[in-house]
């Protein structure tokens, strides 16, 4: 049974029509003895369903095993699972940890379209201020589904 109902599928398909360039959802899961952690398998199913609703070739999914695929885990600096990196023309450092449902689902959809355009849409003042940053800044935003 799909995770997204007909109504949401229609909305997602419509939203993804405005994608400008290709975007990759890089998903990290973990499988041992053929058992995938519950939120991992649901997260993987969700990103695969979303990708299937995008215009041909626009949104793709890459799945890695958190422990087995060490190189990918290090490349994307992922430290917990399930994890999703939203990657466009480059890896901007955008990550989701946990299943993106509810509020996070809207954020993921918004991020996919924003990243596809390679344009943050932030104000000129914000862009100028952020351009001054010359040291690593790690922002974590904790949310709940509702």
């Amino acid at each position: 049974m799909p995770l997204l109902n007909d109504k949401i599928q229609t909305e997602v398909r419509k939203a993804l029509q405005s994608m400008a360039g290709p975007v990759k959802l890089v998903m990290f899961t973990q499988a041992s003895n053929a058992l995938e952690c519950q939120m991992c398998s649901e997260t993987r199913a969700l990103v695969e369903e979303i990708a299937a609703l995008s215009p041909a070739g626009r949104l793709s999914v890459e799945v890695y095993d958190f422990l087995a695929d060490q190189a990918a885990t290090e490349q994307y600096k992922v430290d917990k699972i399930p994890a999703i990196a939203v990657v466009g023309a480059q890896d901007y450092g955008i990550r989701f940890y946990g299943i993106p449902s509810g509020y996070e689902f809207s954020s993921l959809m918004d991020d996919i379209v924003t990243v596809s355009k390679a344009e943050s849409g932030l104000s000129a003042a914000t862009k100028a201020a952020v351009a001054k940053i010359n040291r690593p800044v790690h922002i974590q935003v904790y949310v709940t589904p509702t």
Binding site: Y97, L122, K132, I133, Q140, V141, Y142, P145
Partner: protein, 65 residues
């Protein structure tokens, strides 16, 4: 998400959206009692939704300190 948009603007910024209930040890570590809760470089915590100019100011504060 705003933090993700900021990450697009600077190679120095990485931004995570974390589902608090799936990572209770982190929710506990960062004292997440209400959401959203924003944590910058482990040290600075902001409760509630943060408008764009305020979040930018907070980022610059981290750099100044």
């Amino acid at each position: 998400m705003l933090a993700h948009r900021l990450a697009m603007e600077s190679e120095w910024i990485t931004a995570d959206m974390v589902e608090a209930t799936e990572f209770p040890h982190l929710a506990n570590k960062y004292e997440v009692y209400g959401v959203p809760r924003t944590v910058i470089n482990e040290t600075l915590h902001i409760e509630g939704a943060v408008p764009e100019p305020m979040l930018v100011n907070e980022l610059l504060k981290v750099l100044d300190s």
